[in-house]
Amino acid sequence: MTVVQFLVEVAGTYVATLAFGILINIPRRALNVGGWIGVLGYLLYRFTVLGGGGYVVGNLLGAVAIGVASLQAAKFKKMPMILFNIPAIVPLVPGGQAYQMVKNFALGQNDTAFNYLLQVVMISGAIAFGFLLSEVVNRVQRRVWRHRR
């Protein structure tokens, strides 16, 4: 991955996350932070894959980062957490694999299609599990804060 490619990916992820936020009518105040959380999650995924960690672990780490960062943003901005994590998972959605799955099923190549189906299921599961892990982090943090007070 060259530097230019890296910059293009960061810019693309940021713009796409922000634009998706506009489509589901997120308040203006939350758009910018949401965009950067999307970039953070995507970069963690990308570097894990580049470092040889595999796409499942990459999606898992990306989802954990998005979950934890969204809660911090929600605390900081005093806004609901879903304003930040819904647009941020959009760059992690396995759109390419899902498309290849549909295409191969439509063209009757079921073996290839099942291969992609497996990937879609694995990635969606990894994202869901990543959210679960981030929720654990969030609950521990909340408990620690309550004890301190």
């Binding site: 634009a19 009518n25 819904i86 759109g95 390419g96 899902a98 498309y99 549909v102 295409k103 439509a106």
Partner: protein, 259 residues
């Protein structure tokens, strides 16, 4: 004397009625616009508590809310008939609830503002939504597929696909059907675009262009609801997301088979 007693009771009754009305309206607005169930329960309990109800019992589901407080009035039901994605309303309800907790507004004002919020919807201007659909499609196509030459045609196809989705959801209120039609339109436009030499790869154009249609809200809420233990509403949202994904998939598959 009798009259005095009656008046005293009725003012308490009015107050309880107002508490229930405010909490139920807040809850309904939040579910209608795509909130997760745990947040709705939390907000409604807070409203009742801050309004002085000693206890409140809640049963929140994705299709309706049941709420009771121990006062003069019985439990009330609020059905949830439609579901859209308008996260700004959730943020506003959240904000109003915080203001009420800080005693910046009273219960009557809170209730009036909720009713007002319910009747108006303040979306971004239409041209900005179109631009946003284009800017979801194009950049994600480049990020996913590294196909820079197809950036422009993907923006255009994604925007037109979203336009089809938007117009159809306005006139026929079945979201899955609009998604199906939008996906089919995207397929046709992508194939035509490549035929006319405006793009190189049908696959890349379609992958980018369907991204604005991705059911992000149901996916996220489904996971969060299931994790929070709402085993009825979570899977229901999951089914919503799955049917949306299937509608988009069928739309694309149909075009790929015919063209």
């Amino acid at each position: 004397m009798l009259r005095e007693g009656k008046d005293g009771m009725s003012s308490q009754k009015k107050r309880d009625q107002l508490i229930l009305h405010t909490a139920l309206t807040a809850g309904r607005i939040m579910i209608e616009n795509g909130s997760e169930i745990e947040r709705v329960e939390d907000t409604m309990t807070r409203i009742a508590h801050n309004a002085g109800a000693q206890t409140s019992q809640l049963f929140v589901m994705i299709t309706g809310i049941l709420m009771a407080i121990n006062g003069e009035v019985g439990a009330q039901i609020e059905p949830v008939k439609r579901r859209t994605f308008d996260l700004e309303k959730i943020a506003v309800v959240n904000d109003l609830s915080r203001q009420y907790a800080d005693h910046k507004i009273d219960l009557q004002q809170f209730s009036n503002r909720l009713d007002h919020l319910d009747s108006v919807s303040r979306y971004f201007p239409f041209w900005l939504q179109l631009l946003a659909a284009a800017l979801v499609s194009g950049p994600l196509e480049v990020v996913f597929r590294h196909n820079l030459p197809d950036f422009w045609i993907t923006c255009v196809v994604g925007m037109l696909g979203w336009l089809v989705y938007y117009l159809l959801s306005k006139f026929i209120q079945i979201r899955f059907l609009s998604e199906f039609a939008a996906a089919a339109a995207i397929g046709v436009l992508a194939v035509l675009g490549v035929h006319m030499g405006l793009g190189n790869s049908v696959d890349d154009i379609i992958i980018g262009s369907v991204m604005p249609l991705v059911p992000g809200v149901p996916i996220t809420n489904s996971v969060r609801d299931i994790l929070a233990g709402n085993l009825v509403s979570g899977p229901a949202r999951g089914v919503e997301a799955l049917v949306s994904a299937a509608a988009i998939g069928f739309g694309i598959a149909m075009i790929l088979q015919f063209m």
